[in-house]
Symmetry: C2
Subunit: 453 residues, 2 copies
């Protein structure tokens, strides 16, 4: 049987059927239904991954890659069971070239591990989803976070991927060149493909210099809409903000309670400015002036690195803050819209949550036009889940209607499958053909992104 | 016959078989062998393009899109004859949203037309190949130019493409959202596909704010290698240069002669710095200090906008400068390598040209690790063409060897086909499968990028 074969090829220490491991690989950080794999493999090299794919092909068993399991749409849940591949033993540096602002790593390295390594060379990998995700998972979901407003998403950081395809071929999608017009651009295609087109075994990333000086600031407005309008103004002023986050009053109140902070419980914008000292200080001054003209309250600059860290620690704890409430589950939207439509969408989101009667907040990376809702529901109360999901759905549909997307950064997984045809129209046919071309037997993370049955 | 059918469907004013038009569409700016199409169509709308594709399918006739014909690798040459589609009547704005830093245009609009339109809103489309290329052509070749060091290539500017596929389906590859993790990323795939996967009929682009202040500067070094080393130093300093160009002494001498300039005939770096006034001035000061430490000569700042324009006019005339020499043809490399390998590659390029005994220069966008050679040959002298091509080939192979690419921005077309398997290895198989999936009958710009016969 295929598990015997895996043990034979990989060795028993790289193959686990323990209850703990099966449970750990049955879910991610979403509230999608857990499904346990039949077995979990812990490859240590690309060769191991190739052998796993050989077995998968031979026995027609599904394979689902697993990063840190921090996904929010159920991407890593092995809904058709089979083999879960955990990359925690593939977390090494393959090649680091500080001079080229470039590093090649294995997919199991996490973003914090990576930054620890490169920070001492004055370099950073800026993409920062709230969780300590793996680089493989971040590529596979095209993750972003608070710094995307300046640096783009994970896809924009990629120079090359090594990928094991379903048929066993190993390819490189790019090169070490910063730009290229050679061949077809496969790198962008694998980014965001959630393990459905191939298994990524090496990732070559751009790195960025750590700016000389960084300043954070925050201010408040009377409505989330006013925050969104203010964010728009900052963008149009041309200030290259490093971060610009909307946190509504409900979310502030949750995180104050969770983390013992004392932020004013008002709708807030959190900022970060970075560059040379002169540039950063000039930008914070311009931003303050703009915000005051728009009537902000509580303008506060966090100049010291301790206060600054606290601000972003709080921002990154928002999601956990909502989650700490015992017995409650949550769902959340991840829409991204053109910035001109942001204020109206934020108003709509707040209205949806209020009308649902549930507790929830609006927060997100408004510099990109990307924001989330987090809506709490009690799974034991009939109808609450449906109400929470309705807010999600209505917001995603409205975002698509105004030219935006149902997911700005979390990905499709299970949760956003139902919006694919609505958002992509006829292009969905092409996407499904691509899936069939890369994975004719449906071995790679089946049941995700598109319904192929 | 298919031409009758085209006339019937489109009207005779959109279909030409005039000698002038057939000749105009038989070549681009490269020295690849000209081939005339059977007929040239001038669609005015997507519907027209769809009808052209209907005819192409019905009569199994190849279709080759044609932008401004400024390509340097023969991409627009209809090597298998058939229909050439010229987009000059599809050059309108579809939707312009300055607030969203976003514009949707038809593919026939040129980059200068586009900038004329958006500049008065304080916005710009920064990508600037030396020629006044069409946006469609730039997307199709993933063009870049002097500003890619700051803004990336054309691919990085794309939010959405409307594409007519070979089978007649019309798709949108993206949305108006600044970032998305929904579906597979088709936008990146069409960018750089040179009309071989679909016909682009609408393009939604990011725009950028025009920086408040811009300063240009130049300096000289004793060797091209020293220029490359200096460029590397500037990059590592973290200065976000707007432009950083290497122009070797031979190229300076050519452009002085062509344009009546008086630049010192030395190996040179041309710079541009842009941002707020404070930032730009700070950057030029730091750069000057770095360059002087490295022993540069002739440091000169072009503060006024007239001098600045002249510097970049000269830079953009380089290629034409070489071309103005009567009776001579030329060929050129377009390699892109990791910046750490740039100095050695530049030395190698210069050596290849010297050894060939031909006249030629080394110049390019060294901030990206991307540079060109231009090598002149007399087509009437036996062996010269082969010698020129040898320099090209040897340089491309060396670039690939050090982890770079055979084409940083010009694209594959006819000229770089022979390097595809060497550069992409097994990935070439996937690329060919993609081509077959999108274009099973081989109607779209056949004979380019890959040899499928
Ligand atoms: C509190 C919190 C905050 C968050 N904030 C953000 C945020 O701001 N922005 C954001 O974008 N996301 C955010 N996320 C979501 C999550 O962190 C990202 O989706 C992340 O990219 C998932 O990485 P992972 O390593 O946990 O992958 P997993 O969840 O384990 O897997 C995700 C997908 O990647 C695939 N995959 C993993 N490794 C490979 C591989 N080697 N080859 C092919 N496929 C692979 C899996 O099959 C799966 O489809 C947040 C999550 C939490 C819990
Ligand atoms: C003097 C000079 C300097 C140059 N400098 C640079 C430079 O710095 N950087 C750079 O990148 N390039 C440079 N180039 C090359 C050239 O300008 C670019 O390749 C440009 O992108 C070509 O655009 P075009 O409109 O002329 O396209 P064309 O040459 O007409 O066509 C190029 C390709 O695009 C395809 N195409 C055109 N329209 C469409 C469409 N609507 N749908 C699908 N496919 C389409 C064609 O089929 C063809 O394959 C230079 C050229 C010259 C002559």
């Amino acid at each position: 049987m295929f598990i015997q074969q895996l043990i034979k090829l990989l060795g028993s220490d790289k193959v686990s059927q323990s209850e703990t491991e099966l449970f750990r690989h049955s879910h991610d950080e979403s509230f999608h239904k857990a499904v346990e794999p039949d077995v979990v493999c812990f490859p240590e090299s690309r060769k191991d991954v190739e052998m796993i794919m050989d077995v998968a092909r031979e026995y027609k068993v599904p394979v689902t890659p697993f990063g840190a399991g921090s996904g929010l749409e159920g991407q890593a849940i092995p809904v058709k069971k089979g083999i879960s591949i955990n990359f925690e033993k593939m977390n090494n540096v393959v090649n680091f070239s500080p001079e080229d602002l470039m590093i090649t790593v294995q997919p199991g390295m996490t973003r914090l591990q990576l930054n620890k390594l490169v920070n001492r060379h004055g370099l950073m990998f800026p993409i920062d989803p709230g969780a300590d995700a793996t680089i493989g998972g971040m590529v596979a979901t095209n993750a972003s976070g608070t710094t995307a407003v300046r640096y783009g998403s994970t896809r924009d950081q990629l120079l090359d991927l090594e990928v094991v395809l379903a048929n066993g071929t190993v390819i490189h999608s790019g090169s070490y060149a910063k730009k290229s017009s050679s061949g077809y651009h496969l790198t962008g295609l694998f980014a965001g493909s959630e393990g459905t087109l191939g298994i990524i075994t090496e990732i070559t990333l751009r790195l960025h210099g750590i700016p000389e000086h960084t300043v954070a600031a925050r201010c408040t407005f009377d409505t989330p809409e006013a925050c969104a309008e203010a964010a728009k103004t900052v963008l149009l002023s041309g200030i290259p903000v490093m971060r610009m986050e909307l946190v509504d009053a409900e979310s502030i109140s949750q995180v104050n309670a969770y983390g013992g902070y004392h932020f004013p419980i008002r709708h807030s914008l959190f900022f970060e400015f970075a560059g040379t000292r002169t540039a950063a200080l000039e930008e914070v001054k311009i931003a303050e002036q703009l915000m005051r003209e728009l009537g902000c309250g509580n303008w506060e600059v966090a100049g010291g690195s301790k206060e600054r860290m606290e601000l972003w620690k709080a921002r990154h704890e928002m999601a956990y803050a909502y989650r700490h409430i015992k017995g409650m589950a949550n769902t959340g939207a991840d829409v991204c819209v053109p910035i001109s439509r942001l204020p109206e969408l934020v108003v709509y989101a707040r209205k949806l949550i209020d009308e649902s009667g549930l507790t929830g907040g609006v927060l997100g990376h408004v510099g990109d036009g990307n924001f989330h809702t987090i809506v709490l529901y009690d799974p034991s109360v009939a109808g609450e889940k449906e109400k929470a999901e309705y807010t999600n759905e209505a917001l995603a549909l409205r975002a698509i209607e105004v030219g935006g997307t149902c997911t700005g950064e979390h990905g499709v997984g299970l949760g956003k499958m139902k919006f694919q045809e609505i958002e992509h129209g006829e292009a969905t046919i092409i996407m499904k053909q691509l899936k069939k071309m890369f994975d004719p037997e449906g071995l790679l993370n089946p049941g995700k992104i598109f319904n192929l049955d």
